[in-house]
Amino acid sequence: MSARWIASASLMVLAAAVTALATAQQVPAQGAAQVPEFAPRADSAAEQRAEFRTLDEDVQDLKKQVLDLNRDLFLLEEELLFQSNTQTAVFISMDVGEFFGLDSVELKIDNKDVANYLYTEREAEALLKGGVQRLFIGNLKAGEHELVAVFTGEGPHTRDYRRAASLVFEKGIGPKFIELTISDREVRQQPEFVVKEWE
């Protein structure tokens, strides 16, 4: 009994839906005379869309200009603060890191502390994944300088490890880039600390 009721109710709903659909399809035909009335509205909608598009483009242009300006300001700031003829930058990178877990780096130039950095687990992992960190950027006058980097961390067999690496370099005209690289020395089962100069 109830199944029959459900079936008849479903039929009624279906019939109502079909009627509604047919009515909806007939609307444009019945309202054919009103088409000219709607036409200008369609035009204005298109105009509005075009206006919005222009506005959107303007906003995008403005954003780009702000970004360009920001970049120019950044470059200008770098150039003014760290002029290329005195600029010296020190970077740090790690390769493998099986024999050394980095904890901190202390950087001295001409026996003066210029950077002291404590590494969190995430930062050390980022370096292991190929990240390069700018540890120091500053101004040095032309001539001979000495750089000493003291690395502390966990060495082989989870022992506390502290090692220094140094480099005497000549600062000429033009910027100077130095890279501190920590890598594994498989043969000696020890980490290796290398200081490289980039031209």
């Binding site: 904890d103 901190s104 404590l118 590494y119 969190t120 687990e121 995430r122 930062e123």
Partner: protein
């Protein structure tokens, strides 16, 4: 003459009163600003950086072993941290003791990170002039509250603020 002197004194007193009313302690002036970032070595040996806790509500507590109120506050904060840790609440306890061993003895069974600020650099960064100080930092890294001192019952106020920050 006497009248003008009296008026001048009243003026001086008013200025002093206004100055007192307007000046919060240095630490409380951090409210609404981005929490100064720092990295410190924890007693477990790991280095921890505050900015790596972005996305979590951080209770930054400055304390010392010789300060009884600090220890009482830490106990309350630790309980709150244990309760809400999974919801994203962390407690960073910065010890301003000169000796890390003293701090590690007191917090031997602590489940939260205890950091040691031997040089007092982070304490200066947050203008800590009295203890304890608890800085409440929201998920976006902004200082939302600075609580100075501790009295029994203050923990309810902390809980209310932490819950509000979790709801944001």
């Amino acid at each position: 003459m006497n009248e003008s002197m009296g008026a001048r004194w009243k003026g001086v007193a008013l200025v002093a009163l206004l100055a007192l009313a307007g000046s919060g302690s240095a630490a409380t002036q951090l409210r609404g600003t981005e929490a100064p970032d720092f990295v410190l070595k924890s007693l477990s040996g790991k280095n921890l950086r505050l900015s790596e806790y972005r996305g979590e509500v951080v209770m930054l507590s400055f304390w010392a072993t010789w300060c009884g109120d600090c220890r009482a506050q830490l106990t309350e904060l630790a309980a709150m941290r244990d309760r809400y840790q999974e919801a994203g609440v962390e407690l960073l306890a910065v010890s301003l003791d000169q000796n890390a061993r003293q701090a590690s003895e007191v917090t031997a069974e602590a489940s939260y990170p205890v950091l040691h600020d031997a040089a007092g650099e982070v304490g200066r960064l947050y203008d800590v002039t009295k203890m304890p100080v608890m800085v409440l930092i929201d998920r976006g890294g902004v200082v939302r509250e600075v609580f100075e001192g501790f009295r029994r019952g203050n923990e309810e106020q902390y809980l209310e603020r932490v819950q509000a920050l979790l709801r944001e």
